[in-house]
Amino acid sequence: MSSGRGLPIVRNVILMSLKERIQAIDRRAVLRGMVNVIWAAPVALGLGQFLKFLRFEPPTEQATRFTLGSPGSFTTFPVYLESGQVWLFQDSGGYYAVDAICTHLGCTVYAQPDSSFQCRCHGSQFAADGRVLVGPATVPLRFLQLSWDGGRLVVDRALQVDPSVRLSA
């Protein structure tokens, strides 16, 4: 114990009363402390941001599943759901979702009264089962997998299904 150089000082500081401690702090020490804070704060802030930058990991994959909502919230079918960029249909077999992104250049296609689709950008037309009726598109529209999450419909834009597939109500 007696051999430790710093220990008596620590003991002294601990044993000092608050008044003694305040008296022990001279003006020079206060100013020095303030200066230290002034330069240390931005350095610490910058270091923190730098560490945050080094630890950043970009997202490796985009989300493909999108919650469309409860069927009861849709007043009419088909309905365009921007959250999943799909047209949601309902027939006697259940629900199905058609990709609303045109296979030509990616514009939004619009469902027609006869359940066919039309792209207003470049005039492509698709049949109700997604086949190309009029170009310039050459690839059919995709039908996408639907599933339930509680009472809500969820579409997975990464999973294509056959046009005949329905999700039971």
Binding site: R32, W39, I101, L105, G106, C107, C121, V134
Partner: protein, 459 residues
């Protein structure tokens, strides 16, 4: 003062350099915070926020709309949420610094903001899957345009060479070197060599190059005078410029007091006569004397309206011998896309590229105009109609046929009546037919000047 500083610093044992450094560091920090809180781009928005879009075409996020907040969507065929900005304009998609964001913009040297200039059009409008598409599908517009007389200026160039004894048999020149392995029209040629004025070492050619070689869609307009403002390349025709050349849109970054921008950031196929008028009918030019005399009869035109104004703007004051269709209609109501943009062949003068005659719409004493009933939904006529907001056409409609077999969807035939719907928002006209009328025409004389002998404008 310095003494006082030294004394103060010395009194607390802190080096003066540390104080200065601390103050500088704090200042830099405050500046950085201020830059973060009030970034340069925030001046373009009332409620500053970064505007990020991810175009469905490529899925690559971009921030351009943060500053270009309020800019017009270029067209319904190019929705911004599908195409974004960068696919046409280039630049650094994720930078909010003006200089960095505009690094690598696709544009001409004179107008970096115009990606439709012919010098760069192959990587913008004409890039893969866009307007340099399939010839068979009538979508190779860039090739058509670069071969057209509007881009080649071949008429004036070859006439000049001919006038000065510099023409060579079978050799033709144009503003751009182009070739065509599949010549369809007998009047067309296989190639144009690039016109290099210096290679001729002729004073007339040199003067022509200096004074005249700006009247084509590949060149920038050279004057800031009213009426002359226009784009280059595709935007020569497909963007509308105000007469005063000022931007009138909602992009806060574009000046509304300095010329150099289209009236709005929009493309159109409904090209008004005023756009054609930026180049055509601007005055008289003479290739023999190499002089251009600008019109001086436009004072007071702004006060006119309707047909009077169109007449005054379209034609010089002493030219009052035009038929009704020549001033009531817009230029593109008669002149087809194949004539104006080119049909894929290479011509050495404008007359060879022209198709439509008076009889195309009015017929003759012996024949009615040629027509076609549209049955294939892939016919280009439907595409053109869809791109134009002022007329429509449907499968089963009978429409006029141009002499080169182009369906003119805006001219419908029903119950032997021929009606033209303006492509530019004007009224629908019933087209009078020659057959059965008292017309005394010579069937072979079908130029406008021939018919104007009787059908003239009466002020």
């Amino acid at each position: 003062m310095s003494f006082h500083k030294r004394k103060l610093a010395g009194s607390v044992g802190v080096p003066i350099t540390l104080i200065i450094g601390t103050v500088a560091l704090t200042g830099a920090l405050l500046a950085a915070v201020n830059r973060q809180v009030n970034p340069a781009w925030s001046r373009w928005q009332d409620n500053p926020q970064v505007r990020l879009i991810t175009p469905t075409l490529n899925g690559e996020a971009e921030l351009c709309l943060t500053c270009h907040n309020g800019i017009e969507q270029i067209s319904d065929s190019h929705p911004v949420d599908t195409f974004g900005c960068v696919v046409c304009h280039g630049g650094d998609r994720l930078s909010l610094d003006q200089e960095v964001a505009h690094t690598g913009l696709i544009g001409s040297e004179a107008n970096p903001g115009n990606p439709a200039d012919l010098s760069v059009v192959e990587v913008s409008c004409g890039s893969a899957d866009c307007h340099s598409g399939d010839v068979a599908n009538d979508r190779d517009h860039i090739e058509r345009v670069t071969r057209s007389v509007q881009a080649s200026y071949a008429g004036a160039i070859n006439a000049l060479l001919d006038l000065n004894g510099l023409a060579q048999e079978g050799v033709y020149y144009g503003n751009l070197a182009v070739s065509d392995e599949d010549v369809v029209n007998p009047a067309a040629v296989e190639a144009l060599r690039r016109f290099d004025p210096e290679s001729f070492d002729n004073p007339a050619v040199t003067e022509f190059a200096e004074e005249c070689l700006t009247c084509h869609v590949a060149s920038q307009t050279v004057t800031d005078e009213p009426y002359y403002h226009r784009g280059t390349g595709c935007s020569s025709c497909h963007t509308v410029y105000a007469r005063n050349g000022l931007y009138q849109g909602s992009d806060p970054t574009l000046s509304q007091t300095e010329t150099g921008h289209a009236a709005t950031h929009e493309l159109t196929t409904a090209i008004p006569y005023t756009t054609c008028n930026h180049c055509h009918n601007r005055g008289t030019h003479d290739l023999e004397t190499l002089t251009f005399t600008p019109r001086d009869d436009l004072d007071g035109v702004e006060a006119l309206s309707g047909s009077e104004r169109r007449m005054a703007e379209l034609y010089t004051a002493d030219s009052t011998h035009y038929a009704v269709c020549q001033y009531e209609l817009d230029c593109i109501d008669c002149h087809t896309a194949n004539e104006v943009m080119g049909d894929g062949d290479i011509y050495t003068n404008e007359a060879d590229a022209r198709r439509v005659e008076c009889r195309t719409c009015h017929g003759t004493l012996e024949e009615s105009p040629a027509t076609v009933t549209l049955e294939d939904p892939n016919d280009v006529a439907f595409r053109r109609a869809r791109l134009n907001p002022f007329y429509d056409v449907f499968v089963g409609n009978t429409v006029l046929l141009s002499p080169d077999g182009d369906a003119m969807g805006h001219i419908r035939v029903e119950n032997d009546l021929y009606s033209l719907s303006s492509k530019v928002g004007g009224p629908t006209y019933l087209i009078p037919q020659v057959m059965g009328s008292g017309c005394e025409q010579d069937v072979e004389r079908q130029r406008a000047a021939d018919c104007q002998e009787c059908h003239t404008y009466e002020p």
